[in-house]
Amino acid sequence: MAHTLGEKPNIRPYIMVFVALMTLTLITVAVSYLHLPTMEAIALALLIATVKASLVACYFMHLMTERKLILWTLLLSAVFFFFVLVIPTMTAGNPITL
């Protein structure tokens, strides 16, 4: 990252992300009171959560400008995260049946 000591980092993006996160929180709570059908509710809530999480990761955690080394590491754990998340459910959903 190109930050050097003594220079003031640009904090405008942080404030904007903060506002966005607050707004998204309100939206997701508001939506939950609409009692959407289950699938829609899950999809929407997870979508919003993902957007929020990406904002935190990209801006607060500076992933946008992070080195490739770290991105590769995270990509690796993202892949395995996917496997551990999905495969157990898939095996449970593929049992021997008569």
């Binding site: 049992p95 021997i96 008569l98």
Partner: protein, 269 residues
């Protein structure tokens, strides 16, 4: 060879195919081990320091190892696609019609196998864990349910007719067990909270097996293959394969016993 690799004798219809696949893999393993092994010993002898004092920087230049690796890949692919996957699918997808099969429930518990037949009506009676009694009613069978009236239960005794598909529904009351019939090439974990079906066709009756082995009192056994506590090692049951008339006779005798118990009353209540 009668029993290649010491595999147990086969007493089920699918056993031969399964063993065939097992033997093929072992063939591949044998070829690889002997091939690489001979090369290994040859190199140890040929390139020992006292005989070959200066090493060659480039080492081996031949491409043959690459070919060998491709051969291994090809053999594994054939074993996988040509044998293992179809055989597995046959075990778990191609169930015979229940109407043409003997259906049985087997429920594992520490440390016994409870066997439950639907009886002549072909319907398993209702069970309820509230009614379980460790001794008199280990399955919690509700005898008041009409379809339960003719249900036969045994402990550690599985009876099946020969040459007719058997469908066995495996489950467990407490911990994980594993239902293993060695000669029938059957193994299925008994998972608490799940009922998992398996099927096979017994092809050799107990009487024939005794004659073949020349042992009067030999039995097919149910083994428990999953660690299930201190009695795991003695969680053994027995399988008796009858010819059809023998099985019918056995079932009839069980029905007669049931009727007797009915008369004696208060046994089930």
């Amino acid at each position: 060879m009668d029993r290649p690799l010491g595999l147990p004798e086969i007493a089920s219809a699918h056993g031969a195919e399964l063993d065939h696949a097992t033997l093929l893999v072992h063939g591949l393993m044998f070829v690889m081990f002997v091939g690489w092994g001979l090369l290994f010993l040859y190199m140890l002898w040929k390139f020992r320091a006292s005989r070959h004092p200066t090493a060659v920087y480039e080492g081996l230049k031949s491409k043959s190892s690459t070919y060998a690796e491709w051969a291994v890949i090809a053999s594994e692919a054939i074993l996988l696609v040509g044998f293992s996957i179809p055989l597995w699918s046959q075990r778990v997808d191609d169930f015979p019609a229940p109407s043409e099969s003997t259906e049985v429930r087997v429920v594992g518990e520490q440390f016994a196998w409870n066997v439950h037949y639907p009886g002549p009506d072909g319907i398993f009676g209702r069970t309820d864990i509230g009614m379980v009694d460790a001794i008199s009613n280990p399955l919690g069978l509700d005898r008041k349910d009409p379809s339960a009236a003719d249900d036969v239960t045994t402990i550690n005794q599985l009876h099946l007719p020969v040459d007719k598909p058997a469908i066995i529904h495996i489950s467990s009351k407490d911990v994980i067990h594993s239902f293993m019939l060695n000669e029938f090439r059957v193994k299925q974990d008994a998972m608490p909270g799940m009922t998992i079906p398996l099927w096979f066709i017994p092809t050799v009756t107990t009487a024939e097996m005794r004659a073949n082995r020349g042992q009067e009192d030999a039995n097919y056994e149910i083994a428990c293959a999953q660690l299930c506590g201190i009695g795991h090692y003695r969680m053994r049951g027995f399988v008796t394969i009858h010819d059809q008339s023998g099985f019918d006779a056995w079932m009839a005798s069980e029905q007669a016993l049931l009727a007797e118990d009915e008369g004696g009353d208060d046994f089930w209540d």
